[in-house]
Symmetry: C2
Subunit: 100 residues, 2 copies
DNA sequence: TCGACATTCAGCGATCCTGCTGAATATCGT
DNA sequence: ACGATATTCAGCAGGATCGCTGAATGTCGA
């Protein structure tokens, strides 16, 4: 068993994995990434057929998980991807790929 | 945007990410992995304080996602980890880590 | 200041998920 | 065959999640 991880980090795992468990949220990350790493909320919402209010909530989940951050620019909000956080998933996965 | 992926693969993403979204299921994978890659259902269930029936269902979710497979050996079922499937997650993540 | 725009907040019904309990199935040892 | 063991199946209640709609907030241009 791997060494005990901190409570904070466990919660982070929880948030990140849960965030990634929804296809729309994974698509958001992809869309933002392939748009150069940042996109306004409206641009992101336009990718989906959902009501934008629905997308708003997905954005909040992603931000709470630390996978996105946002910045206000005038009347629009620019969301930026936070790839550092995806490293958490990578760290978790790496257990299974390294041969001891 | 990455090239169109097959329907089957999209469903696989869905299954794998959803399976990983629950802490208990991530722990199952860890437990099995650090036990050498295989474990009986009972051994896995004993790791948790849940009723074993609850663990059974988690095992089914993991198996449906292709992350575990099982084999009967007498009256017990041996679950084996299927690390190949975790590569799917790795593939998805790799988009964000390769600099084009 | 007024109206248009960009976005979030609040709350609703439908559905899904989790953990539980009780019953069923299958195998082993005697 | 019988009881003990190992595990799954079936169904239920509580809670979370999703997508929707309607209203609110904040900002820009005239």
């Amino acid at each position: 068993m791997p060494k005990q991880e901190s409570k904070g980090k466990l919660d982070a795992y929880e948030a990140v994995f849960s965030a990634l468990s929804h296809a729309a949220r994974r698509r958001v990350l992809m869309a933002v990434y392939f748009n150069g790493g940042s996109m306004t909320a409206g641009e992101i919402a336009s990718v989906f057929s959902h009501a934008w209010q629905t997308t708003t909530r997905h954005l909040q989940v992603l931000e709470a998980a630390g996978l996105l951050s946002h910045e206000r620019q005038g009347r629009m909000r620019i969301y930026r991807i936070e790839p550092k956080r995806l490293k958490l998933v990578n760290d978790w996965l790496s257990h299974f790929f390294k041969k001891p």
